[in-house]
Symmetry: C2
Subunit: 453 residues, 2 copies
């Protein structure tokens, strides 16, 4: 906990340009830590953006190689007023460690480091080869990661990538995410008058960029919550009753999702459960909007308004095609009385893993050993760009062993990591490395009570 506290003190907020130095210092600290626990070949590798931290232990001849991925950057702690304390001065309280990044993802990646350190300290060697890959741009779309992996494909060659950046069903029931939605980010900028205009003098005769932007945004959904971009749903895979029944039995129920969201009423596409809306169905989310002023109230027609939005995409949607459809749709509806610019970036393809892969079995057994329960195999609504990137470049599958709790406030004020879960997470990581060493025996799984996926 003391070491993690040190790690959490770095304000490694990747979305804020003024934090570039904090991010770099955090990477240096992490690299030093890798060296200290016994990893070799440790590097802080520069990229076009924030550095990637790598390290490895490669002395398990003829054994599999596990790539451990994590990210040391965090999202902004805003709104600060809603935190009970400084988000970068970690506090231990009611059995949990509270800080920005405590869970997402500094805390979770740290469990793998503590697992490696434990085994090396007690055994003198690891049962498998391990390569670590920790990036500093996950929260801003992993912009430079693909190029880094492409340039270091040989050094990163491995049999599986293990990633801990997701959540469990509850503190008793772990979960492995076998599907993540893809993503695409976009910005829409609407410009009207070259300068702010007096709203009395010109109001009624000049197209207001805020109004025009709102009209464009309103035209992105129909009134039933479906995305109204023509062609958007073409290519969305239809799942049969069997998979939908599996999802119902293994994933969280709608009521649990509603409670986690803290909402009175959910919303979205008709004909699909809340769980399905957040996993096998795509979404378009407005992340931010700004134009003119809302603090004072001045009589102006602003000259510009902008919005940021992101798509969550599902198999078999192609982010590039979605970007084009969105641009065409907005061009079609944009009125001639304002200037509209649309920019799309950070495309991430949706990912889907085989639940029956041996590496999934190792993970399931590791979880069961610590938590006393096999994990649920669930789909995630979020995007983990590295999953597709690693599969595409290195050809290896990902195992997503998450250790977050639903109320850990990831991306929100008062983020935390439960200390009991943390201890079990380290144990799970230790077990995973040992279980990955040998062949996976059917009878071991059978003892768990049958088919868990």
């Amino acid at each position: 906990v003391d070491e993690l506290t040190e790690f959490l003190r770095f304000r490694s907020i990747s979305s804020q340009a003024e934090r570039t130095r904090d991010v770099a210092q955090c990477a240096q600290w992490l690299a030093a830590h890798l060296r200290r626990i016994g990893l070799k070949h440790v590097q802080v590798a520069p990229t076009g953006g924030n550095p990637v931290v790598t390290g490895a232990w490669l002395q398990a001849t003829n054994r599999p190689t596990i790539l451990v991925y994590g990210h040391y950057d965090v999202v902004s702690p805003e709104p600060l007023a809603k935190w009970n304390h400084d988000p970068f001065d970690p506090v231990m309280r009611v059995g949990a460690l509270f800080a920005r990044g405590a869970n997402d993802d500094k805390g979770q990646l740290f469990c793998h480091l503590k697992a490696i350190e434990s085994i090396l300290a007690s055994e003198g060697e690891l049962p498998v080869n391990v390569k670590c890959l920790f990036e500093g741009e996950e929260e801003i779309g992993s912009k430079n990661l693909a190029r880094f992996i492409e340039g270091n494909a040989k050094a990163l060659r491995s049999d599986v990538v293990v990633i801990s950046d997701t959540t469990m069903i509850s503190r008793e029931k772990p979960a492995i995410s076998y599907a993540q939605r893809g993503g695409l980010r976009a910005e829409i900028v609407v410009c009207g008058p070259k300068r702010e205009l007096h709203s009395g003098t010109f109001g009624g005769a000049v197209h207001n960029p805020i109004q025009s932007l709102c009209e464009i945004i309103a035209a992105l959904h129909d009134r039933h919550g479906r995305i109204a971009i023509p062609g958007f749903y073409e290519g969305v895979r239809k799942w049969g009753d069997e998979e939908r029944a599996f999802m119902r039995s293994s994933g969280p129920c709608d009521e649990a999702i509603r409670r986690d969201a803290g909402m009175e009423r959910m919303w979205g596409e008709r004909g699909f459960s809340v769980a399905e809306r957040t996993t096998i169905r795509p979404a378009l989310v407005l992340n931010g909007i700004a134009g003119g002023g809302v603090k004072g109230h001045e009589a102006v027609i602003p000259s510009c308004a902008r919005a940021r939005l992101s798509f969550r995409l599902v198999p078999d949607q192609d982010p590039q095609r979605i970007a084009n459809l969105m641009k065409e749709h907005i061009e079609r509806i944009a009125p001639p009385t304002v200037k509209v610019r649309v920019r799309a970036e950070s495309p991430v393809r949706p990912a889907l893993m085989d639940r029956r892969h041996p590496a999934m079995r190792s993970a399931a057994l590791a979880y069961r050993g610590e938590f006393g329960a096999f994990p649920a195999f669930v789909r995630s609504g979020g995007s983990i760009p590295v999953v597709d990137t690693v599969y595409r470049i290195l050809g290896v599958p990902a195992v997503l062993m998450g250790f977050g709790l639903p109320d850990d406030q990831r991306h929100a004020p008062n983020e935390k990591f439960d200390l009991t879960v943390m201890a079990k997470a380290i144990g799970t990581c230790i077990r995973y490395l040992f279980l990955s060493a040998g062949p996976h025996r059917r009878d071991v799984y059978a003892r768990g009570g049958g088919n868990f996926f």
Copy 2:
């Protein structure tokens, strides 16, 4: 110019709470200046908000009393980056004085003070009684002015109020505004989740407050630019061909308005000219919108989004009725999956003055004496709350002698006051006081070439 420069240095931005002290210091400076030029009974009167500065010269027995109204508060200078220099460090350049408030309204009210000072210095007395009333909240809706005038109705009793806070047609052609639109400000706040939610985990199943706000805003206009609030246009006075022809002949042409706005294409309600859309037709203007973040790009569903908007109203619309219609409309269209709050404030009734009133004739003659041309009688798109307030409480008509140029950048970066116009404006104010002293002789007007309204 040196004195006005001192006056302009005060950051008397009424929309910014942190500027309250600057506003108060500006009021004190103004009061001291009134005393210095020879006005009596000078006071800085507290209100519920920013103080009102008053002063008077009442020794013209049996002569009319002129109330001079102005405001010493200014709008925020944002965006600062678009100014060529510090907006509160006035700069003289190409025959003009550049600063926030140079024209609106510190510069214009200052012309009346210089006129009074000149006459007192040369004649030892004024040809009429003068009362000054300078407020510090015009740019935020004159919230406390009505109560102040009500409480001081006897002290403010007068025959006419003269206000210089409008613009001329050009540097050769003055203008008197005989109609101003009314106003109403509103704020719409849409709240969704209690805290920011991860847009991957919940995207598609939680109603996004930005999206919902945009849908509400989009439903405030139809696609032809008309306001879509049911009942909104009931009560809007229909003007006959005669008045519309007068407006065409006296007001600016559509092309001139387009040029002033710096727009390639104008916008608005069909069936009305651009000039009409900004004067005899009402408008709904979005002033600001904000929600989530647009600087970084983080994967969150924000918990709230808000917009500020304002109405421009025309005879015979009642601001209170419009507030109710808007609230009912938004309540009707607000979805049950978010919480929507609407607040309306700062109602201002539209104002319409008799172009044939003797005080108008004095003003027209005063202008002609300095500018060599009779003023155009025009309608303004903006609201000047004091016009209705003074008429309602004191029962006196207003004469709006404006001295701004169309390109003076009122409410915009690089606001200025042309020095040649300023000199003529002071002369016009001097003439106006003398012309107000005596009866208005038809033959004086006849010399001007006939019927100027």
